[in-house]
């Protein structure tokens, strides 16, 4: 049964697109059929992070409006064949996205893929609510920083009220992905630690992605960090998060690029 996953955060720049690309690639290399949908109409970037910017012909709005078939708009990844991308429109008006249109596209994608991953735009406007609307599972990407935590709290409220599942009285599965975490700074009390963020947001932890120069290096090259440097700390953290999404119960650790104490084990399990 296909699962629809939304990667959301409220705040911009916390790593939604990076995480969508990295998790999507990790799930696909594990043998799943994965499609990534960019919902950021007018400010699309998933194509660029995936290195597919020159292969975009049709986009989500073309499909929603019936100007193109879904198969024409999907871009298959050249590195991992089970990974596809449905780009957002860069030029069209975002009001062209309708709830019915999106619903139809997602239903069709669910027949062909195991994971439909929706990369949400920042904010709490229509684009963000449309991206989360049909989700079974949500990943709330949060930086250990006050404004990001506050916005995540707001997004969690929206997930509990504005999604189809919530409206039916069902429960949407929510996970926290803590990105750009610096264990050394948290240890010195300069950065919110994991327990603080978890206590404030009260949702289960999917993973901790350490602050890593590999993330920028990968996006410079148009490759998800999990493909560009699979042994890097950030990539390993994303691979673990992908395994947890697939139901594996792994202890949450903070991988480190340096040989240090910070890759220590945390006796916490992701739910």
């Amino acid at each position: 049964m296909a699962k629809v996953l939304v990667v959301t955060s409220g705040k911009g720049g916390v790593g939604k697109t990076t995480s969508t690309a990295a998790l999507g690639a990790a799930l696909a290399t594990a043998g799943k059929n994965v499609v990534l949908i960019d919902f950021d109409v007018g400010l699309r970037n998933l194509d660029l992070v995936m290195g597919a910017e020159r292969r975009v012909v049709y986009d989500l709005i073309n499909v929603v409006q019936g100007d193109a078939k879904l198969a024409q708009a999907l871009i298959r990844d050249k590195r991992v064949p089970s990974l596809s991308l449905l780009p957002a429109s860069q030029t069209r008006d975002k009001d062209a996205l309708t709830d019915e249109g999106v619903s139809k596209v997602i239903t069709e994608l669910k027949e062909k893929f195991d994971w439909v991953i929706c990369d949400s735009p920042a904010g709490i406007e229509r684009g963000a609510t449309l991206a989360m609307r049909h989700a079974d599972v949500a990943i709330v990407v949060t930086n250990p920083e006050v404004s990001s935590v506050r916005d995540s709290d707001r997004i969690i409220g929206l997930l509990d009220s504005k999604t189809e599942k919530a409206e039916k009285g069902e429960r949407i599965e929510k996970h926290l992905l803590l990105t750009r975490f610096d264990a050394a700074r948290a240890g010195r009390g300069e950065m919110l630690n994991i327990a603080d963020v978890l206590e404030i947001l009260s949702i289960p932890l999917l993973g901790i992605i350490p602050e890593s120069s590999e993330v920028l290096r990968a996006s410079n090259l148009g490759s998800p960090v999990t493909l560009n440097n699979p042994v890097s700390a950030a990539a390993r953290a994303y691979f673990d998060a992908a395994k947890r999404l697939n139901g594996e119960a792994l202890d949450v650790i903070i991988p480190s690029d340096r040989k240090s104490l910070f890759g220590k084990l945390f006796g916490r399990r992701a739910a």
Binding site: V146, R154, D160, S161, G169, R171, G189, E190, I200, S202
Partner: protein, 134 residues
């Protein structure tokens, strides 16, 4: 707290945490109030108003989000002379329901008053009258 350690730069993370906890407690109660909570508040108010003269401010509906269960707290303040038929404590009546998730159970709570509403719908004025007299 600022003087814990003269040798280190003071920790700023605990301040961040405290500020967030305060702010979010407020935001969840005010702006974070979902439509559902607002609807619940109105419906509960309507039902209770049939039996007791209550003020709009006398009813507080609050949702607290927890990891495994969330709590829906309904607090109804009724002037004690108005509720002689029930042995209510002098404190405000407090009804708390454990809610798995945020949105499944509140509906059930919403339904319960609905049934009352139906039962009394035929003669609401009379019921209200007997309620205060009894």
């Amino acid at each position: 707290m600022k003087l814990i350690n003269f040798f280190k730069r003071p920790s700023t993370a605990p301040v961040a945490r405290e500020r967030l906890q305060l702010l979010l407690a407020h935001e969840r109660a005010v702006s974070g109030k979902s439509d559902l909570i607002a609807i619940l508040q109105e419906e509960i108010m309507a039902v209770i108003a049939r039996h007791f003269p209550v003020e709009q401010e006398g009813i507080k509906v609050k949702m607290e989000r927890g990891e495994a269960v969330s709590t829906l707290e309904v607090e109804v303040e009724i002037p004690t002379p108005m509720c002689p038929s029930f042995p209510l404590p002098a404190k405000p009546a407090k009804v708390a329901a454990l809610v798995p998730g945020d949105s499944s159970e509140p509906k059930k709570l919403g339904e319960a008053p609905d049934r009352d509403e139906l039962a009394y719908d035929t003669a609401p004025a009379e019921m209200a009258k007997t309620g205060t007299e009894a």
